[in-house]
Every structure is written in structure tokens, then in C-alpha cells.
């Protein structure tokens, strides 16, 4: 018998990128309306595949990340009116997600310059949420009575923004904590160039990274590759990415580099040789008395 599975979906809601994606000059234009209707069908499929399945939806908006829907608690008081033609759980997901996205978009307003999308915030929130539901603590009564202990939690990132190289370190930290929690991170690149960091995220957590070639077939990609829980994926031939780019972002200019200069003290990566490491400010000079020093060491600071 298949156990209940948990899915956290992170939707990249960058208005600029979605605008670009909807332009008719693209080979397969995909507007956010079409995207949402296909995504909601996928979310409904997840809920429908098992009664105990839990679902959380986070949105990564410019400068902030928000919880759009959570199956364990009601976020809004207004329960949609009963409709004989719709199944209530589906209706609840659909209306909550759409309503909240609309609210957030309205709140953005006119901005001169769009701040970068808070994808990291959304991923860390998803991890905190998974930590909360997989380790129900005795101190909170509300969680303890949750009957379904989640077995293979997954995070699905639907990304449209390019790599944000300034968030290299936080995203790597998030990947390592996902590894610790045994969380699989799946990435579906809906629009834009390949992102190196998300490729590494999927690779390091045994997830799949899929670049959407036919964007009009989004729902098919979602259902065929991301609906099955990890236990079933061993049997199915789920597509994985072919190449994994292990490039990193340098600390000085936030460039993504394939050959970098690494400080032997703190392992910071730079794209060009520097006389002084800007992270740990150790001079890169040879000392005569280097006998007792192991150059590979780390400057640890506690804030």
C-alpha cells in the first residue's frame, strides 16, 4: 500500500518573466493564465491520487515569498460556496491559490525596478514546513493529532527566472538541508535559460530537472514526470537531466565561473586573482614561518 506523500510546490511569479513568456514572438508562448490552469489541474491530480496526500503551495514574488495554500490549515475564512458540480477540495485549492496570487499581484503595484525573485525564501520556508510536519513535536497539540506521518516529502520548483547568482550560498545551504531531511527537489524550468544552481539542487537530492521544450504541453510534463512519488519513480523511467553543470558563483562579482581562484583559507571563490581575500582578509603572501601553518583552514566567525 502506498503511503501518503507530501508535495510542496514553489511557483516563480516574476511578473517580468511571465510577461516575456507570454509574448507571441516565442515559439510556444505561455501566459500565466494558461500556466495556472494547467498547474491547478496538476495540483488537483496530486490531491486526488491519495486521500491523505498533503499539499503546500508557495509563491516566489519579487522581494518576498508567500504561502499560497496549505492543506493542513485553512488560510482564509471564506469557504467557497458549495457547488453541486465541483469537488470541494479541488475547489478550495483552485480558489485559494488564484485568489492569493491575484491579491499579491495587485499589491505589487507600479515599480521602477523589479527586485529579484525571492526563490530562496520560498525554498527555505518549504523546508521549514516539511521539518514541521515530518517531526511533529509534542509541544504543539495541533500537529500531534495529524494522523499522516509524511514519508517522502518532495519540493517542486516551477522556475521562470534566470539564476540569481547573489543567492548562490543560501541556495546551496538549502540544498544541503534538503539532503539532510531526505527531501527530493524537482525542478521544472518553464521559461528562460537553464539555471545552474537548480540543476545542482535536483542532482544532489535525486530529483529531476526538466527543461520544458514544448511549453504548450506543460500539464503533460508535470503529470508524467512530477506526479509520481519517489518510491514509484524507481519503477518508472522518469526523465532526468543529461548534463549537470557544477559551476559556482564567484564571491566578488557574482559571476558564474567554471575556473575560479579559491582562497586556501576560507575556500571563497573569486573570478580573478586578488591580493587580499575579501572574505577572510588574509593576505595571499608567503610567510617564512609557514612551517606550523596548514594553509587549508577556515576562519570561523560567530555573529
Amino acid at each position: 500500500m502506498e503511503k501518503a506523500s507530501h508535495l510542496s510546490v514553489i511557483v516563480d511569479l516574476s511578473p517580468t518573466q511571465w510577461h516575456l513568456s507570454a509574448q507571441t514572438s516565442n515559439q510556444y508562448p505561455l501566459s500565466i493564465e494558461t500556466f495556472l490552469s494547467q498547474l491547478l489541474a496538476f495540483l488537483n491530480a496530486h490531491i486526488a491520487s491519495k486521500h491523505e496526500n498533503s499539499l503546500v503551495v508557495f509563491g516566489a514574488l519579487p522581494g518576498k515569498s508567500v504561502l499560497l495554500y496549505s492543506s493542513t490549515e485553512l488560510l482564509s475564512d471564506d469557504v467557497p460556496s458549495l457547488d453541486a458540480n465541483s469537488y470541494l477540495p479541488f475547489k478550495l485549492v483552485d480558489s485559494t491559490v488564484v485568489q492569493r496570487i491575484m491579491n499579491e499581484f495587485d499589491a505589487i503595484g507600479e515599480l521602477e525596478e523589479e527586485p529579484s525573485c525571492a526563490l530562496v525564501g520560498a525554498v527555505t520556508k518549504a523546508l521549514c514546513y516539511i521539518n514541521r510536519i515530518t517531526h511533529p513535536s509534542s509541544t504543539t497539540a495541533g500537529v500531534a493529532e495529524d494522523p499522516s506521518i509524511v514519508h517522502d516529502p518532495r519540493i517542486l520548483i516551477l522556475s521562470v527566472s534566470p539564476d540569481l547568482s547573489s543567492s548562490y550560498i543560501p541556495i546551496m545551504n538549502a540544498i544541503f538541508s534538503a539532503q539532510k531531511l531526505k527531501v527530493t527537489i524537482d525542478v521544472c524550468k518553464v521559461y528562460g535559460p537553464d539555471t545552474v544552481f537548480l540543476q545542482q539542487a535536483a542532482h544532489l537530492t535525486n530529483g529531476s530537472y526538466i527543461y520544458l521544450e514544448r511549453r504548450d504541453a506543460l500539464l503533460q510534463y508535470l503529470i508524467m514526470s512530477f506526479l509520481s512519488p519517489t518510491s514509484i519513480r524507481k519503477i518508472l523511467a522518469v526523465p532526468k537531466q543529461d548534463k549537470i553543470d557544477f559551476r559556482a558563483a564567484c564571491f566578488c562579482h557574482k559571476n558564474i565561473v567554471d575556473i575560479g581562484f579559491v582562497c586556501s583559507v576560507c575556500l571563497s571563490i573569486f573570478c580573478q586573482p586578488l591580493p587580499v581575500c575579501s572574505t577572510c582578509s588574509f593576505l595571499s603572501i608567503h610567510s617564512n614561518d609557514s612551517m606550523l601553518l596548514a594553509p587549508f583552514s577556515l576562519l570561523q566567525t560567530h555573529a
Binding site: 521549514c128 509541544t139 545551504n173 575556473i259 586556501s264 575556500l267 606550523l292 577556515l298 576562519l299
Partner: protein
């Protein structure tokens, strides 16, 4: 006598620099023997624990339920929160000064496989307990030292025996520790033989890595073919750091091994203490003797090294010959400079000599460089017009009632902890999770 004097001198410098670096470390007590636990770098937790726990042979049975107190309502909430408060306080007491730590570590685990390990004073036997803890130690060690390597050497029947080659793969090390029948204890241990074996296996290592030996020693004797002090001097010369976890009692020679090489020495009093002193050796050792480079202002030598981050080829790619073994293979890593294919990373490219590393390996240590600021406990709700209803990270609803149990310092009666940068409120569980695991504030995104 002359070399010995120099060593003593070295040790004095060593302990002085220790103080200037660590700040809160007590002075190295020269008087030994009075207490079994004169380990300076021990955390507060270890010390408190050591005091309240009895020796294994004194305790007939443990009453673990006595330490947990129920409150009036019969719930354990108060006890749990007290434990959490202690944890928080311990974190806040972490040294504020900068410490240099070794990143690329090489460790030889020296296991005592002599007949003394079959003693049953630790349950089920010293041997089984050692294997179990050694496995847990290896897992934790690789987690915190992803660029490190571990080799395993056993001491039994008077000789040193190589059990596992130096390897960077935790699975290899765990495999050689899991074959219990191969490791069956017998005979007398020989410290000298085993240390010589460990030393020779580390002699080729480059200078930028640390060389460490960790001895788990249960016997009270050692039968050596020569003078073990010569071995000790050789280890000092090779800058090998020896740490000993003794299971029986303190021996002069094991204490000397640790003191002269700058390692840690500990005698395990019972099962829990054994694990504590073993796991204290997991975090990278603080780099010492820095002050020798010419006062506290002088910076030690550090170089920028050129490293390449490869592209990984999948199993389904067309097979080709690898540059390192000339084997026909599909999977592999491409050197970013010369595009040669190598089988495994980290390595030096066989064609152009570029050091190829996987960037996630490097990234594992970055949370030390950019730690998350500690959250402040919200102690007063006055002046808050619109308090956040739920935890910013996990969306757990905050309770509106004041918890009376949490009166101790560092705890918020509302269960709210606030990030000093983004001013979002987090629950206690997320506070611990963010600082211990994620190392990234969900509110600020950095």
C-alpha cells in the same frame, strides 16, 4: 634531552595562542590525574554532564525517568522547553572571537582490537559499543568535513593491521567497520606498531592538509618493539595530531601522545560520556600556534588556488576513454579547461594539471563564513500594533496565551523569535532548525 626541551617550549607557545584565539577557553591545567576530565576544549554541556553522571561501575541501573519532571497538568512541556532553553543558551555562548579551522582533514582511526575490548563494563561490550559509535562518528565526521578522508587501522595480537585504506567516501569506511567478524578482538595491542603504520600511510600527504590520528584505546598495556617516545617525536616532527579516547584509565603514554602533538585526551566514564568525548573530535580542530608567525597582527600565509568546476556527463552519454585510466566509460566529469574526461572528483586533471573539484563540496563549508544572526526572543508584546499571526517560516499559528513554563533566560513567553534584520517572527522549532540546519533566514533570504 635537547629535543624534549624544545617540545616543552612549543607547548607553552601553543597554549598561549590558544587563549588569545579562543577567548573563553580556560587555562590549560598542568596538574593531571586529579580529575579524569581535564579536557580544556570540552563544551559546557560535556562538563555539566560529566559532573552529574556516575562512573559506569558505580551505577547499578539508570533512572532516566527521574531527570524529567512533569508539571501540575501532567504534561512534559515544561521539561522539553527547559531542554530547549539550555540548547539556546549554549549556542549563544559560542566563542565570539574568530577561530581558524582546518578544512581538508586526513584522519586515521586507530581501533584497539585487543582482548581488553571484550570487557563488559560498557554494554554490550566495549568492542561492540566502539564499532557502533565509530560508525556514527564516521557519518557525522564526513557530514562536517566533506573534503576529508579517513583510514582505519586496528591494533591486535601485537601488530598494527590495516583495515581500511584512506578514503573520502563514507560508504567505504562504513563497510570496513561493519564486518564485525573480521575485527574480532584478540591478543595484546601495540601502540607503536599501529601509530607507525598510520604515520606511514599519511607521510605522502600534501602540506595543506591536516594529519590526525584518533586512537580508541581500551587496554592498559601496550607491547612495543622499540621506544615509543621515538615514534612520538617522529609524529611531532610530521605534525601529526594524536587524540586518544581511553576506555579504561589514563595512561601516562597516551596522555603524552596527546599533549605533545596538540591533540585531545579523554577517559570515557560511561557509554554516554564515551560518545560525547568521541564526537567532540568531529568539528575541525581550531588552528593553533598562529601567534608564532609574529604576534597577533601577523597574517598567516594563504594562497589563492586555481580550481576548475567540471560538468558531469550522464550515464546515457556516448562512451569515450577517460584520461585517468583509459577506460571506456559513459559517465565522467569534463575538465573545464582542457575538456579531458576524468572519472572522479576531486582530483588533478591528468592533462592540464588543473585542480578539479565539485563546487558543492566547497559550498558545504560556507555556512561557517556567513552564519545566520541569532534571533532575539520576543519578551514584550507592548507597542506591537499588528503582531504576526503565524510563524513566518512554517506558518504555525502562534499561541496568544503566555506560557508560564518558559521563564528562563533566552526563551520567549510567546514562543516568538525575531530576526534582527527582517523583523519577522519565527517559532522556536524553526529558530533551531534555521540556525542548525538551513543556515539561511527564510525572511531575509540570506
Amino acid at each position: 634531552m635537547a629535543p624534549r626541551n624544545r617540545d616543552d617550549n612549543f607547548m607553552d607557545v601553543d597554549s598561549d595562542s590558544d587563549i588569545s584565539l579562543l577567548g573563553d577557553v580556560e587555562h590549560r591545567g598542568k596538574g593531571k590525574g586529579k580529575s579524569k576530565t581535564t579536557d580544556k576544549r570540552k563544551k559546557d554541556k560535556g562538563k555539566a554532564k560529566a559532573k552529574e553522571q556516575a562512573y559506569t561501575w558505580e551505577a547499578s541501573y539508570t533512572r532516566s525517568w527521574d531527570t524529567v519532571q512533569e508539571d501540575e497538568a501532567g504534561s512534559l512541556q515544561g521539561a522539553v522547553e527547559d531542554l530547549m532553553a539550555r540548547g539556546r543558551r549554549r549556542r549563544l555562548l559560542a566563542p565570539a572571537a574568530a577561530i581558524r579551522r582546518t578544512i581538508i582533514r586526513h584522519l586515521v582511526l586507530l581501533l584497539d582490537l585487543s582482548a581488553a575490548m571484550m570487557d563488559r563494563d560498557m554494554r554490550p561490550t566495549r568492542f561492540d559499543l566502539m564499532l557502533q559509535y565509530a560508525r556514527e562518528f564516521v557519518v557525522e565526521w564526513f557530514d562536517q568535513n566533506p573534503l576529508g578522508q579517513i583510514g582505519v587501522v586496528g591494533m591486535r595480537a601485537g601488530i598494527g593491521e590495516r583495515i581500511g585504506e584512506m578514503s573520502g567516501n563514507p560508504q567505504d569506511v562504513l563497510k570496513c567497520l561493519s564486518e564485525r567478524t573480521r575485527l574480532e578482538p584478540t591478543g595484546e595491542p601495540s601502540l607503536q606498531n599501529a601509530i607507525e603504520m598510520a604515520r606511514s600511510s599519511m607521510s605522502h600527504l600534501p602540506t595543506h592538509s591536516s594529519r590526525e590520528i584518533l586512537i580508541i584505546f581500551g587496554s592498559l598495556t601496550t607491547c612495543d618493539p622499540g621506544n615509543i617516545h621515538d615514534t612520538l617525536d617522529a609524529c611531532v616532527k610530521n605534525k601529526i595530531r594524536i587524540s586518544v579516547v581511553a576506555l579504561a584509565a589514563e595512561m601516562k603514554i597516551s596522555r603524552d601522545l596527546c599533549d605533545k602533538t596538540g591533540g585531545q585526551f579523554g577517559v570515557a566514564m560511561n557509554e554516554g560520556h564515551f560518545k560525547d568525548i568521541l564526537f567532540e573530535l568531529v568539528p575541525p580542530p581550531a588552528q593553533r600556534a598562529v601567534a608564532r608567525a609574529g604576534g597577533p597582527g601577523a597574517n598567516p600565509a594563504a594562497d589563492l588556488m586555481m580550481m576548475g568546476f567540471p560538468t558531469r556527463l550522464p550515464d546515457s552519454s556516448p562512451p569515450s576513454l577517460c584520461a585517468c585510466h583509459s577506460d571506456m566509460k559513459s559517465e565522467g566529469f569534463l575538465c573545464p579547461r582542457c575538456m579531458a574526461k576524468v572519472c572522479d572528483v576531486p582530483t588533478d586533471c591528468d592533462i592540464c594539471g588543473l585542480m578539479i573539484v565539485s563546487s558543492p563540496h566547497l559550498a558545504r563549508s560556507y555556512h561557517h563564513l556567513f552564519p545566520v544572526k541569532p534571533y532575539e526572543a520576543v519578551t514584550s508584546m507592548e507597542g506591537e500594533s499588528m503582531p504576526q499571526a503565524a510563524c513566518h517560516a512554517c506558518a504555525r499559528i502562534f499561541s496568544t496565551s503566555v506560557s508560564t513554563a518558559a521563564t528562563s533566560e533566552g526563551m520567549s513567553p510567546w514562543g516568538r523569535y525575531r530576526c534582527p534584520d527582517c523583523h519577522n517572527d519565527f517559532c522556536a522549532e524553526c529558530d533551531v532548525f534555521v540556525h542548525d540546519v538551513i543556515h539561511c533566514c527564510p525572511g531575509c533570504g540570506k
